[in-house]
Symmetry: C2
Subunit: 276 residues, 2 copies
Protein backbone atom coordinates (compact mmCIF):
# COMPACT_ATOMS: atom_id res chain seq x y z
CA UNK A 1 0.00 0.00 0.00
CA UNK A 2 1.14 3.47 -0.83
CA UNK A 3 1.72 5.26 2.45
CA UNK A 4 4.83 7.24 1.66
CA UNK A 5 2.80 10.37 1.03
CA UNK A 6 1.09 11.74 4.11
CA UNK A 7 -2.64 11.65 3.55
CA UNK A 8 -3.22 14.71 5.71
CA UNK A 9 -3.73 18.03 4.02
CA UNK A 10 -1.64 20.97 5.27
CA UNK A 11 -3.77 22.93 7.72
CA UNK A 12 -1.93 26.21 7.52
CA UNK A 13 -0.23 28.35 4.93
CA UNK A 14 3.14 27.66 6.52
CA UNK A 15 2.65 23.89 6.38
CA UNK A 16 1.51 24.12 2.82
CA UNK A 17 4.59 26.01 1.77
CA UNK A 18 6.79 23.31 3.25
CA UNK A 19 4.82 20.58 1.58
CA UNK A 20 4.97 22.29 -1.79
CA UNK A 21 8.73 22.19 -1.98
CA UNK A 22 8.85 18.68 -0.53
CA UNK A 23 6.72 17.17 -3.21
CA UNK A 24 7.83 19.23 -6.16
CA UNK A 25 10.37 16.59 -7.01
CA UNK A 26 8.87 13.25 -7.90
CA UNK A 27 5.80 14.81 -9.44
CA UNK A 28 4.78 14.49 -13.10
CA UNK A 29 5.30 17.46 -15.34
CA UNK A 30 1.95 19.23 -15.17
CA UNK A 31 1.55 18.70 -11.47
CA UNK A 32 5.01 20.02 -10.81
CA UNK A 33 4.16 23.11 -12.83
CA UNK A 34 1.27 23.56 -10.44
CA UNK A 35 3.42 23.08 -7.36
CA UNK A 36 5.99 25.55 -8.60
CA UNK A 37 3.48 28.16 -9.62
CA UNK A 38 1.55 27.84 -6.40
CA UNK A 39 4.74 28.14 -4.38
CA UNK A 40 5.76 31.27 -6.22
CA UNK A 41 2.34 32.87 -6.04
CA UNK A 42 0.98 31.93 -2.67
CA UNK A 43 -0.49 35.37 -2.24
CA UNK A 44 -2.58 35.17 -5.38
CA UNK A 45 -4.41 32.06 -4.30
CA UNK A 46 -6.86 33.92 -2.11
CA UNK A 47 -8.12 36.12 -4.94
CA UNK A 48 -7.88 33.78 -7.89
CA UNK A 49 -10.14 31.22 -9.49
CA UNK A 50 -9.11 27.76 -10.58
CA UNK A 51 -8.96 29.06 -14.12
CA UNK A 52 -6.66 31.91 -13.09
CA UNK A 53 -4.22 29.64 -11.36
CA UNK A 54 -4.36 27.15 -14.21
CA UNK A 55 -3.58 29.87 -16.71
CA UNK A 56 -0.71 31.09 -14.57
CA UNK A 57 0.78 27.62 -14.27
CA UNK A 58 0.06 26.99 -17.95
CA UNK A 59 -1.92 23.85 -17.33
CA UNK A 60 -5.59 22.99 -17.86
CA UNK A 61 -7.94 23.55 -14.92
CA UNK A 62 -8.32 19.85 -14.41
CA UNK A 63 -4.63 19.58 -13.61
CA UNK A 64 -5.05 22.13 -10.86
CA UNK A 65 -7.88 20.10 -9.42
CA UNK A 66 -5.85 16.93 -9.42
CA UNK A 67 -3.04 18.80 -7.82
CA UNK A 68 -5.21 20.03 -4.96
CA UNK A 69 -6.48 16.53 -4.37
CA UNK A 70 -3.00 15.09 -4.31
CA UNK A 71 -2.20 17.54 -1.55
CA UNK A 72 -5.04 16.02 0.43
CA UNK A 73 -7.77 18.58 -0.08
CA UNK A 74 -11.18 17.78 -1.46
CA UNK A 75 -10.64 20.45 -4.08
CA UNK A 76 -9.38 23.92 -4.83
CA UNK A 77 -12.01 25.61 -2.73
CA UNK A 78 -10.81 23.95 0.43
CA UNK A 79 -7.25 24.99 -0.23
CA UNK A 80 -8.34 28.51 -1.07
CA UNK A 81 -10.27 28.79 2.16
CA UNK A 82 -6.96 28.49 3.98
CA UNK A 83 -5.76 31.69 2.39
CA UNK A 84 -8.99 33.61 2.58
CA UNK A 85 -9.18 32.98 6.26
CA UNK A 86 -5.55 33.86 6.75
CA UNK A 87 -6.06 37.31 5.28
CA UNK A 88 -8.58 38.34 7.87
CA UNK A 89 -6.35 38.56 10.93
CA UNK A 90 -3.30 39.90 9.17
CA UNK A 91 -4.12 42.94 7.16
CA UNK A 92 -7.52 44.11 8.25
CA UNK A 93 -6.82 45.33 11.70
CA UNK A 94 -3.97 47.39 10.39
CA UNK A 95 -5.99 48.73 7.50
CA UNK A 96 -8.94 49.86 9.52
CA UNK A 97 -6.73 51.37 12.14
CA UNK A 98 -4.93 53.23 9.42
CA UNK A 99 -8.17 54.53 8.04
CA UNK A 100 -9.21 55.79 11.43
CA UNK A 101 -5.92 57.57 11.86
CA UNK A 102 -6.24 59.29 8.53
CA UNK A 103 -9.78 60.30 9.27
CA UNK A 104 -8.59 62.34 12.20
CA UNK A 105 -8.37 65.13 9.65
CA UNK A 106 -5.56 66.40 7.52
CA UNK A 107 -2.81 68.14 9.41
CA UNK A 108 -3.46 66.52 12.77
CA UNK A 109 -0.72 64.44 14.29
CA UNK A 110 -2.44 61.05 13.93
CA UNK A 111 -3.23 61.73 10.29
CA UNK A 112 0.35 62.75 9.64
CA UNK A 113 1.54 59.64 11.36
CA UNK A 114 -0.65 57.51 9.13
CA UNK A 115 0.79 59.18 6.06
CA UNK A 116 4.36 58.68 7.14
CA UNK A 117 3.71 55.08 8.08
CA UNK A 118 2.20 54.50 4.67
CA UNK A 119 5.06 56.23 2.91
CA UNK A 120 7.51 54.09 4.83
CA UNK A 121 5.72 50.90 3.94
CA UNK A 122 5.58 51.77 0.28
CA UNK A 123 9.24 52.65 0.28
CA UNK A 124 10.17 49.35 1.83
CA UNK A 125 8.07 47.39 -0.62
CA UNK A 126 9.51 49.22 -3.54
CA UNK A 127 13.00 48.62 -2.25
CA UNK A 128 12.41 44.89 -1.98
CA UNK A 129 11.10 44.84 -5.50
CA UNK A 130 13.82 46.84 -7.13
CA UNK A 131 17.02 45.99 -5.33
CA UNK A 132 19.98 45.29 -7.54
CA UNK A 133 21.63 42.26 -6.01
CA UNK A 134 24.73 42.54 -8.09
CA UNK A 135 25.33 46.12 -7.05
CA UNK A 136 24.74 45.17 -3.44
CA UNK A 137 27.24 42.35 -3.64
CA UNK A 138 29.77 44.65 -5.22
CA UNK A 139 29.27 47.25 -2.53
CA UNK A 140 29.75 44.68 0.21
CA UNK A 141 32.90 43.37 -1.40
CA UNK A 142 34.43 46.82 -1.80
CA UNK A 143 33.68 47.89 1.74
CA UNK A 144 34.74 44.59 3.24
CA UNK A 145 38.09 44.94 1.52
CA UNK A 146 38.73 48.45 2.71
CA UNK A 147 41.05 49.43 5.52
CA UNK A 148 38.83 52.19 6.85
CA UNK A 149 35.29 53.01 5.76
CA UNK A 150 34.56 56.72 5.45
CA UNK A 151 30.88 57.43 5.81
CA UNK A 152 29.60 60.73 4.52
CA UNK A 153 26.06 62.05 4.40
CA UNK A 154 24.70 65.46 5.26
CA UNK A 155 21.34 67.09 5.88
CA UNK A 156 18.61 64.55 5.27
CA UNK A 157 21.15 61.83 4.75
CA UNK A 158 22.97 62.52 7.98
CA UNK A 159 20.76 60.36 10.18
CA UNK A 160 21.52 57.43 7.91
CA UNK A 161 25.20 58.17 7.89
CA UNK A 162 25.35 58.42 11.65
CA UNK A 163 23.48 55.16 12.05
CA UNK A 164 25.81 53.47 9.64
CA UNK A 165 28.76 54.71 11.61
CA UNK A 166 27.20 53.37 14.78
CA UNK A 167 26.58 49.94 13.32
CA UNK A 168 30.02 49.70 11.76
CA UNK A 169 31.54 50.61 15.06
CA UNK A 170 29.53 47.92 16.85
CA UNK A 171 30.71 45.41 14.30
CA UNK A 172 34.34 46.36 14.76
CA UNK A 173 34.70 47.82 11.30
CA UNK A 174 37.11 50.76 11.29
CA UNK A 175 34.91 53.69 10.41
CA UNK A 176 35.07 57.44 10.20
CA UNK A 177 32.00 59.62 10.07
CA UNK A 178 32.39 62.81 8.09
CA UNK A 179 29.81 65.12 9.52
CA UNK A 180 31.06 68.45 8.30
CA UNK A 181 31.05 69.90 11.80
CA UNK A 182 32.95 73.15 11.89
CA UNK A 183 33.35 73.15 8.11
CA UNK A 184 36.40 71.00 8.61
CA UNK A 185 37.70 69.36 5.54
CA UNK A 186 38.33 65.75 6.37
CA UNK A 187 39.66 65.01 2.95
CA UNK A 188 43.17 64.43 4.15
CA UNK A 189 41.91 61.49 6.19
CA UNK A 190 41.43 59.43 3.06
CA UNK A 191 44.24 56.95 2.63
CA UNK A 192 45.10 54.39 0.05
CA UNK A 193 43.14 51.21 0.67
CA UNK A 194 40.22 53.06 2.26
CA UNK A 195 36.72 53.22 0.84
CA UNK A 196 34.04 55.89 0.91
CA UNK A 197 30.39 55.24 1.54
CA UNK A 198 28.53 58.32 0.35
CA UNK A 199 24.83 58.94 0.89
CA UNK A 200 23.03 61.78 -0.80
CA UNK A 201 19.72 62.54 -2.45
CA UNK A 202 18.55 65.33 -4.69
CA UNK A 203 19.25 68.14 -4.07
CA UNK A 204 22.72 66.77 -3.54
CA UNK A 205 24.93 68.36 -0.95
CA UNK A 206 28.13 69.72 -2.35
CA UNK A 207 30.32 68.52 0.46
CA UNK A 208 29.28 64.94 -0.06
CA UNK A 209 29.88 65.08 -3.77
CA UNK A 210 33.24 66.74 -3.23
CA UNK A 211 34.45 64.03 -0.90
CA UNK A 212 33.26 61.31 -3.24
CA UNK A 213 34.92 62.99 -6.19
CA UNK A 214 38.15 63.35 -4.30
CA UNK A 215 38.13 59.70 -3.32
CA UNK A 216 37.42 58.71 -6.89
CA UNK A 217 40.27 60.80 -8.19
CA UNK A 218 42.61 59.01 -5.88
CA UNK A 219 41.38 55.65 -7.07
CA UNK A 220 39.52 54.65 -3.92
CA UNK A 221 36.32 52.61 -3.96
CA UNK A 222 33.23 54.78 -3.70
CA UNK A 223 29.97 53.13 -2.70
CA UNK A 224 27.04 55.43 -3.37
CA UNK A 225 23.59 55.30 -1.83
CA UNK A 226 21.44 57.66 -3.83
CA UNK A 227 18.13 58.05 -5.57
CA UNK A 228 19.13 57.42 -9.12
CA UNK A 229 22.11 55.91 -10.82
CA UNK A 230 22.05 58.77 -13.30
CA UNK A 231 22.49 61.47 -10.65
CA UNK A 232 25.80 63.14 -9.89
CA UNK A 233 26.56 60.74 -7.06
CA UNK A 234 25.50 57.76 -9.11
CA UNK A 235 28.02 58.64 -11.78
CA UNK A 236 30.80 58.85 -9.22
CA UNK A 237 30.26 55.52 -7.51
CA UNK A 238 32.21 52.35 -8.17
CA UNK A 239 29.13 50.63 -6.76
CA UNK A 240 25.76 52.33 -6.78
CA UNK A 241 22.84 51.40 -4.56
CA UNK A 242 19.62 52.98 -5.71
CA UNK A 243 16.98 53.67 -3.11
CA UNK A 244 13.81 55.43 -4.13
CA UNK A 245 12.02 56.76 -1.12
CA UNK A 246 8.34 57.62 -1.23
CA UNK A 247 8.03 60.89 0.55
CA UNK A 248 5.04 62.57 2.06
CA UNK A 249 5.13 66.32 2.04
CA UNK A 250 8.59 67.76 2.21
CA UNK A 251 10.08 65.01 4.36
CA UNK A 252 10.96 61.44 3.67
CA UNK A 253 10.59 58.50 5.94
CA UNK A 254 14.09 57.14 5.31
CA UNK A 255 12.76 53.65 6.04
CA UNK A 256 14.08 52.13 2.86
CA UNK A 257 17.37 53.94 3.09
CA UNK A 258 17.95 52.73 6.61
CA UNK A 259 16.99 49.17 5.76
CA UNK A 260 19.48 49.21 2.93
CA UNK A 261 22.11 50.78 5.14
CA UNK A 262 21.63 48.16 7.84
CA UNK A 263 21.80 45.29 5.43
CA UNK A 264 24.94 46.72 3.91
CA UNK A 265 26.63 47.34 7.23
CA UNK A 266 25.83 43.96 8.72
CA UNK A 267 26.87 42.15 5.56
CA UNK A 268 30.16 44.02 5.51
CA UNK A 269 30.68 43.31 9.19
CA UNK A 270 30.15 39.58 8.71
CA UNK A 271 32.31 39.45 5.61
CA UNK A 272 35.16 41.03 7.48
CA UNK A 273 34.86 38.67 10.43
CA UNK A 274 35.08 35.71 8.14
CA UNK A 275 38.06 37.23 6.44
CA UNK A 276 40.10 37.36 9.63
Amino acid sequence: MNSDLPPTAPASVAELRVRLVQISDGLPKRLRQCADYFADNLDRIAVSTVADMAAGAEVPPSAVMRFCQILGYTGFSELQKLFRDAYAPGWPDYATRMKNLKQSGAGTAPALLAEFVEAGRLSLESLAKSVDEAALAAAVAQLAGADTVHVVGLRRAFPVASYLAYVFEKMAVPVMLHDGVGKLDHRHALRKGDAVLAISFAPYSEETLALAQDARDRGLAVVAMTDGAAGPLGRLGTAVLTVTEVDFGAFRSLSATIAMALALAVAVGSAREEGL
Copy 2:
Protein backbone atom coordinates in the same frame (compact mmCIF):
# COMPACT_ATOMS: atom_id res chain seq x y z
CA MET B 1 -34.13 64.46 -13.30
CA ASN B 2 -31.84 63.15 -10.59
CA SER B 3 -28.31 64.13 -11.50
CA ASP B 4 -26.94 65.13 -8.11
CA LEU B 5 -25.17 61.78 -7.70
CA PRO B 6 -22.28 61.24 -10.08
CA PRO B 7 -23.07 58.30 -12.32
CA THR B 8 -19.43 57.29 -12.58
CA ALA B 9 -18.21 54.41 -10.48
CA PRO B 10 -15.04 54.91 -8.42
CA ALA B 11 -12.18 53.44 -10.42
CA SER B 12 -9.78 52.88 -7.56
CA VAL B 13 -9.87 51.78 -3.97
CA ALA B 14 -8.92 55.25 -2.83
CA GLU B 15 -11.73 56.88 -4.76
CA LEU B 16 -14.16 54.34 -3.45
CA ARG B 17 -13.22 55.07 0.12
CA VAL B 18 -13.90 58.73 -0.40
CA ARG B 19 -17.22 58.05 -2.04
CA LEU B 20 -18.29 55.74 0.74
CA VAL B 21 -18.10 58.39 3.41
CA GLN B 22 -19.61 61.00 1.10
CA ILE B 23 -22.78 59.09 0.43
CA SER B 24 -23.24 57.42 3.78
CA ASP B 25 -25.46 60.30 4.85
CA GLY B 26 -28.61 60.61 2.84
CA LEU B 27 -28.85 56.88 2.24
CA PRO B 28 -31.73 54.69 3.41
CA LYS B 29 -31.14 52.45 6.36
CA ARG B 30 -30.10 49.19 4.72
CA LEU B 31 -27.92 50.86 2.16
CA ARG B 32 -26.19 52.88 4.80
CA GLN B 33 -25.48 49.69 6.72
CA CYS B 34 -23.79 48.48 3.57
CA ALA B 35 -21.77 51.65 3.15
CA ASP B 36 -20.61 51.58 6.74
CA TYR B 37 -19.73 47.93 6.73
CA PHE B 38 -17.90 48.19 3.44
CA ALA B 39 -15.97 51.20 4.64
CA ASP B 40 -14.91 49.39 7.79
CA ASN B 41 -13.99 46.18 6.03
CA LEU B 42 -12.45 47.26 2.76
CA ASP B 43 -9.84 44.56 3.03
CA ARG B 44 -12.37 41.75 3.25
CA ILE B 45 -14.03 42.65 -0.04
CA ALA B 46 -11.42 40.91 -2.14
CA VAL B 47 -11.93 37.56 -0.45
CA SER B 48 -15.63 37.64 0.33
CA THR B 49 -18.81 36.67 -1.50
CA VAL B 50 -21.91 38.78 -1.71
CA ALA B 51 -23.43 36.56 0.95
CA ASP B 52 -20.46 37.13 3.26
CA MET B 53 -20.64 40.86 2.97
CA ALA B 54 -24.40 40.82 3.36
CA ALA B 55 -24.12 38.78 6.52
CA GLY B 56 -21.49 41.13 7.88
CA ALA B 57 -23.60 44.19 7.20
CA GLU B 58 -26.67 42.37 8.49
CA VAL B 59 -28.68 42.92 5.34
CA PRO B 60 -30.03 40.54 2.69
CA PRO B 61 -27.83 39.92 -0.34
CA SER B 62 -30.13 41.89 -2.57
CA ALA B 63 -29.42 45.01 -0.54
CA VAL B 64 -25.73 44.58 -1.24
CA MET B 65 -26.45 44.33 -4.93
CA ARG B 66 -28.52 47.49 -4.93
CA PHE B 67 -25.77 49.19 -3.02
CA CYS B 68 -23.13 48.26 -5.59
CA GLN B 69 -25.34 49.52 -8.37
CA ILE B 70 -25.99 52.82 -6.64
CA LEU B 71 -22.23 53.29 -6.52
CA GLY B 72 -22.25 52.97 -10.28
CA TYR B 73 -21.05 49.43 -10.75
CA THR B 74 -22.92 46.81 -12.70
CA GLY B 75 -22.78 44.57 -9.67
CA PHE B 76 -20.71 43.26 -6.82
CA SER B 77 -18.33 41.41 -9.07
CA GLU B 78 -17.20 44.59 -10.75
CA LEU B 79 -16.56 46.28 -7.45
CA GLN B 80 -14.74 43.22 -6.16
CA LYS B 81 -12.53 43.15 -9.21
CA LEU B 82 -11.15 46.49 -8.10
CA PHE B 83 -9.82 44.91 -4.94
CA ARG B 84 -8.65 41.67 -6.46
CA ASP B 85 -6.67 43.56 -9.05
CA ALA B 86 -5.28 45.88 -6.44
CA TYR B 87 -3.89 42.92 -4.56
CA ALA B 88 -2.23 41.40 -7.57
CA PRO B 89 0.22 44.13 -8.52
CA GLY B 90 0.72 45.38 -4.99
CA TRP B 91 1.47 42.54 -2.71
CA PRO B 92 2.28 39.53 -4.82
CA ASP B 93 5.24 40.81 -6.66
CA TYR B 94 6.60 42.08 -3.40
CA ALA B 95 5.96 38.82 -1.61
CA THR B 96 7.65 36.65 -4.17
CA ARG B 97 10.55 39.03 -4.46
CA MET B 98 10.89 38.92 -0.72
CA LYS B 99 10.92 35.16 -0.72
CA ASN B 100 13.61 35.10 -3.35
CA LEU B 101 15.71 37.56 -1.42
CA LYS B 102 15.49 35.48 1.72
CA GLN B 103 16.34 32.36 -0.19
CA SER B 104 19.65 33.88 -1.19
CA GLY B 105 20.88 32.23 1.97
CA ALA B 106 21.23 33.48 5.51
CA GLY B 107 23.99 35.97 6.01
CA THR B 108 24.17 37.25 2.45
CA ALA B 109 23.38 40.87 1.84
CA PRO B 110 20.10 40.33 -0.05
CA ALA B 111 18.83 38.02 2.66
CA LEU B 112 19.74 40.54 5.31
CA LEU B 113 18.02 43.25 3.36
CA ALA B 114 14.87 41.18 3.18
CA GLU B 115 14.92 40.69 6.92
CA PHE B 116 15.38 44.36 7.65
CA VAL B 117 12.68 45.32 5.20
CA GLU B 118 10.33 42.89 6.85
CA ALA B 119 11.23 44.11 10.31
CA GLY B 120 10.57 47.66 9.20
CA ARG B 121 7.22 46.80 7.77
CA LEU B 122 6.14 44.97 10.87
CA SER B 123 7.26 47.84 13.04
CA LEU B 124 5.27 50.33 11.01
CA GLU B 125 2.18 48.18 11.10
CA SER B 126 2.46 47.67 14.79
CA LEU B 127 2.91 51.40 15.30
CA ALA B 128 -0.23 52.20 13.33
CA LYS B 129 -2.14 49.69 15.38
CA SER B 130 -0.98 50.76 18.79
CA VAL B 131 -0.49 54.49 18.67
CA ASP B 132 -1.89 56.42 21.58
CA GLU B 133 -3.59 59.41 20.02
CA ALA B 134 -4.08 61.19 23.32
CA ALA B 135 -0.41 60.97 24.19
CA LEU B 136 0.50 62.16 20.71
CA ALA B 137 -1.79 65.16 21.01
CA ALA B 138 -0.35 65.99 24.40
CA ALA B 139 3.19 65.76 23.06
CA VAL B 140 2.38 68.08 20.18
CA ALA B 141 0.76 70.58 22.48
CA GLN B 142 3.69 70.64 24.88
CA LEU B 143 6.29 71.03 22.18
CA ALA B 144 4.29 73.60 20.27
CA GLY B 145 4.07 75.70 23.39
CA ALA B 146 7.76 75.57 24.16
CA ASP B 147 10.24 78.39 23.50
CA THR B 148 13.05 76.09 22.43
CA VAL B 149 12.87 72.35 21.87
CA HIS B 150 15.84 70.40 23.17
CA VAL B 151 16.26 67.13 21.34
CA VAL B 152 18.35 64.46 22.99
CA GLY B 153 19.07 60.92 21.85
CA LEU B 154 22.32 59.01 21.82
CA ARG B 155 23.68 55.81 20.34
CA ARG B 156 20.93 54.04 18.45
CA ALA B 157 18.59 56.92 19.06
CA PHE B 158 20.96 59.51 17.72
CA PRO B 159 19.96 59.18 14.08
CA VAL B 160 16.39 59.87 15.07
CA ALA B 161 17.38 62.82 17.22
CA SER B 162 19.46 64.33 14.47
CA TYR B 163 16.67 63.92 11.95
CA LEU B 164 14.23 65.54 14.35
CA ALA B 165 16.57 68.45 14.76
CA TYR B 166 16.84 68.77 10.99
CA VAL B 167 13.09 68.77 10.48
CA PHE B 168 12.44 71.20 13.31
CA GLU B 169 15.02 73.50 11.84
CA LYS B 170 13.39 73.33 8.41
CA MET B 171 10.08 74.16 9.99
CA ALA B 172 11.48 77.15 11.80
CA VAL B 173 11.06 75.65 15.25
CA PRO B 174 13.84 76.78 17.59
CA VAL B 175 15.72 73.61 18.33
CA MET B 176 18.86 72.46 20.03
CA LEU B 177 20.38 69.07 19.44
CA HIS B 178 22.20 67.59 22.42
CA ASP B 179 24.64 65.18 20.92
CA GLY B 180 27.03 64.72 23.79
CA VAL B 181 30.01 65.60 21.64
CA GLY B 182 33.06 66.14 23.80
CA LYS B 183 31.20 65.05 26.90
CA LEU B 184 29.89 68.57 27.19
CA ASP B 185 27.07 69.03 29.59
CA HIS B 186 24.46 71.05 27.81
CA ARG B 187 22.25 71.14 30.84
CA HIS B 188 22.69 74.83 31.43
CA ALA B 189 21.06 75.51 28.08
CA LEU B 190 17.67 74.53 29.46
CA ARG B 191 15.59 77.58 30.23
CA LYS B 192 12.21 78.14 31.69
CA GLY B 193 9.59 77.71 28.99
CA ASP B 194 11.67 75.21 27.03
CA ALA B 195 10.76 71.59 26.45
CA VAL B 196 12.83 68.44 26.13
CA LEU B 197 12.21 65.73 23.56
CA ALA B 198 14.11 62.69 24.76
CA ILE B 199 14.55 59.50 22.75
CA SER B 200 15.98 56.38 24.26
CA PHE B 201 15.48 52.65 24.20
CA ALA B 202 16.67 49.86 26.44
CA PRO B 203 19.44 49.81 27.40
CA TYR B 204 18.88 53.44 28.19
CA SER B 205 21.75 55.85 27.89
CA GLU B 206 22.57 57.63 31.09
CA GLU B 207 23.13 61.01 29.52
CA THR B 208 19.67 61.06 28.00
CA LEU B 209 18.04 60.08 31.26
CA ALA B 210 20.07 62.66 33.13
CA LEU B 211 19.01 65.48 30.87
CA ALA B 212 15.38 64.43 31.05
CA GLN B 213 15.54 64.15 34.81
CA ASP B 214 17.10 67.57 35.09
CA ALA B 215 14.42 69.12 32.90
CA ARG B 216 11.74 67.43 34.92
CA ASP B 217 13.18 68.72 38.17
CA ARG B 218 13.01 72.22 36.82
CA GLY B 219 9.40 71.79 35.83
CA LEU B 220 9.92 71.69 32.08
CA ALA B 221 7.81 69.57 29.76
CA VAL B 222 9.51 66.30 28.85
CA VAL B 223 8.26 64.41 25.83
CA ALA B 224 9.63 60.88 25.80
CA MET B 225 9.93 58.55 22.82
CA THR B 226 10.76 55.16 24.24
CA ASP B 227 9.91 51.50 24.09
CA GLY B 228 7.74 51.17 27.13
CA ALA B 229 5.84 53.57 29.34
CA ALA B 230 7.10 51.64 32.35
CA GLY B 231 10.78 52.16 31.55
CA PRO B 232 12.94 54.79 33.25
CA LEU B 233 12.33 57.32 30.49
CA GLY B 234 8.64 56.57 30.40
CA ARG B 235 8.31 57.43 34.06
CA LEU B 236 10.05 60.76 33.52
CA GLY B 237 7.98 62.03 30.64
CA THR B 238 5.10 64.48 30.88
CA ALA B 239 4.00 62.92 27.58
CA VAL B 240 5.12 59.43 26.59
CA LEU B 241 5.13 58.09 23.06
CA THR B 242 5.61 54.36 22.97
CA VAL B 243 7.23 52.87 19.90
CA THR B 244 7.94 49.17 19.81
CA GLU B 245 10.39 48.38 17.11
CA VAL B 246 10.70 44.89 15.71
CA ASP B 247 14.38 44.24 15.45
CA PHE B 248 16.27 41.72 13.46
CA GLY B 249 19.51 40.57 14.97
CA ALA B 250 21.17 43.17 17.11
CA PHE B 251 20.03 46.18 15.10
CA ARG B 252 16.69 47.82 14.69
CA SER B 253 15.26 49.35 11.57
CA LEU B 254 14.11 52.56 13.27
CA SER B 255 11.33 52.80 10.69
CA ALA B 256 8.57 53.19 13.23
CA THR B 257 10.57 55.54 15.40
CA ILE B 258 11.31 57.81 12.48
CA ALA B 259 7.74 57.79 11.28
CA MET B 260 6.62 58.81 14.72
CA ALA B 261 9.32 61.45 14.92
CA LEU B 262 8.37 62.94 11.58
CA ALA B 263 4.69 63.07 12.42
CA LEU B 264 5.49 64.71 15.70
CA ALA B 265 7.83 67.27 14.22
CA VAL B 266 5.58 68.24 11.35
CA ALA B 267 2.54 68.50 13.62
CA VAL B 268 4.47 70.71 16.01
CA GLY B 269 5.73 72.82 13.16
CA SER B 270 2.23 73.38 11.79
CA ALA B 271 0.79 74.07 15.20
CA ARG B 272 3.37 76.76 15.80
CA GLU B 273 2.76 78.40 12.45
CA GLU B 274 -0.91 78.67 13.18
CA GLY B 275 -0.16 80.09 16.57
CA LEU B 276 1.76 83.04 15.13
